[in-house]
């Protein structure tokens, strides 16, 4: 990975955004989704979810820089994030009902 021309910078920035911001959102999303899925008191389930969330963040960052296209990098973040949001949505709806 030697010197980059400005044309090569944009995909790199896109990946850094996917890793740092996308990874952060996914870490939050997975923490919450796990909290709704885990049995027991919600507070401790959320605590456990956040603990797992850091590992999710780590894996997300590694994924983003390991795959060979920027599109796949983003897809690997956004699809799981969408899944998490669905789980959280159902969880909140069931908690309200």
């Amino acid at each position: 990975m030697t010197r980059k021309s400005s044309a090569a910078i944009a995909p790199l920035l896109s990946r850094i955004a996917a890793a740092v911001l996308g990874g952060y959102l996914l870490a939050n999303g997975s923490a919450l989704a796990l909290a709704y899925l885990m049995p027991g008191a919600f507070a401790t389930a959320l605590e456990g979810g956040i603990m797992v969330g850091f590992v999710v963040y780590l894996l997300a960052v590694m994924w983003v820089f390991a795959v060979d296209s920027t599109r796949r990098a983003w897809a690997g973040i956004l699809l799981p994030l969408a899944l998490c949001l669905v789980v959280v949505g159902i969880g909140k709806w069931r908690a309200a009902a």
Partner: protein
Amino acid sequence: MNGSFRQSMNWLHTWSGLVVGWVLYLVFVTGTAGYFDTEIDRWMKPEIPRLIQRPDDLHVMDIGERYVREQVQDPHSWYIDVPSERYPFVGIGWRGADEQFHETFLDPVSGEPLTIRDSGGGQTLYRMHYELHYMPYELAYWLVMVCTMFMFVAIISGIVTHKKIFKDFFSFRPFKGQRSWLDMHNVLSVLALPFHLMITYSGLLFLMFTVVPATVGIGYGWGEQDEERFFDELFPHYHGEEEAGIAAPMVPLREVVNDAFQRWPEGRRELWYVVAEHPGDVNAHYEIAQAPTRGALVHDGQTLVYSRTGELVFTESEQQAAPSYLRSVLLGLHEGQFAGLLLRWVYFFSGLLGTAMVATGLVLWTVKRRNRAMAEGRVDRGLLLVERLNVGTIVGLPLGIAVYFWANRLLPVGVEERAAWEVLAMFLCWGLSFVYAVFRPVRRGWIELLGAAALLYGLLPLLNVLTTERHLGHSLPDGDWVMAGFDLTMLALGLAFACAARALARRDAQPLPLPARKRAAAAGEALA
């Protein structure tokens, strides 16, 4: 990215480590010192006497209660901290009628107040590893968390980069330039790998609720009360009544402590601290905290809450759900409070290995870049920047800490804001190290600052002879190992810095092989 998985992980390892490397270095250095925080406290506050024998808990309660009754006017709350091996004094703290927090220390036997110089001690270094300094702590928490997450990525991507991690562990090829730096970085990283992994992941868990406010927001709601509800569920604790402003007598402390002792099994009747909330008010209560079992990884002391009239009103639960328990275990491992003397040294050395891992990683980056810049014969601005930041931080920070210790002995005892001056001396020295690094050729900068660190650390025991009675001449014959241990550790650090300076100066004296010299001439500035 492009190329094999291992290559892309190598790229990730390099850059995630580099961008936050200097902050991580600060965190490792001050965190490592933090394993001996109270020992550093006691060297920096030599007025604290040695604890020969642990006094009876009830005696401590009596002298603490007497001090509060006679010396403190209408406090809103107060606590008595029971002396232990590592805290050889009675600590009294209170929130006064002026709403300010005050603190004083008593001799555990006579109960007389100790006159102790104002010093940041080891606690300031320890707090620096997660609160940094000169900034609001919330900002510091975020910064430290971001850097720790980078470190987590750097460690794991560093591991998967290796083809033969076991073999790399046994290979060290000295005096081979880049190869040697890589070997050294590998050995240091792998040697204490379980420690590095544990310390990084558990480090994330300490401050984790700060950085994911949205999880609590979505789960509980976004208000302050919603957040409180979450923490109440997570850590059940006693909610006292507000201060009513109506005076009422309290049962003597001794009475509730005796009652607590009756409820605890024999062998566990040891206090940790006691608190009185709204003392003298009709809504007052006591909190009586039991000391944890010696060597317990997870805190196992019970806290009993007593009303003003001496009735037990709340028992803090020891039961923890699985996630909380796992988190407590990891936090316990990170802090090492359970560790005895030997294990505490193991922690200290593991911390030093982590420090050296970060430092060699930063140096390795410059060695690689320098080789390439020389081969291509061009000036590399990134390299120039990192080289300077390396000298200024890797040597400048320890140099600053040495100055912190010197300031502790040299600043007049009566100076206002003395503790703040000590820290200022440290940061001034660190800042000056950057300036120095900019204006000196890189290699000379390394050698000269390393030499200065060797002198400042090596001479600290001598400074101690000149400024206190508790120097090696007394501490060694008396078996005062806290004071002697600090002085001897400083001597060892001085020696280590001297060896590093000498090794660099020696290599400097050897002529470069001819082709390298030619290339160097072509590279011009880049080599400076």
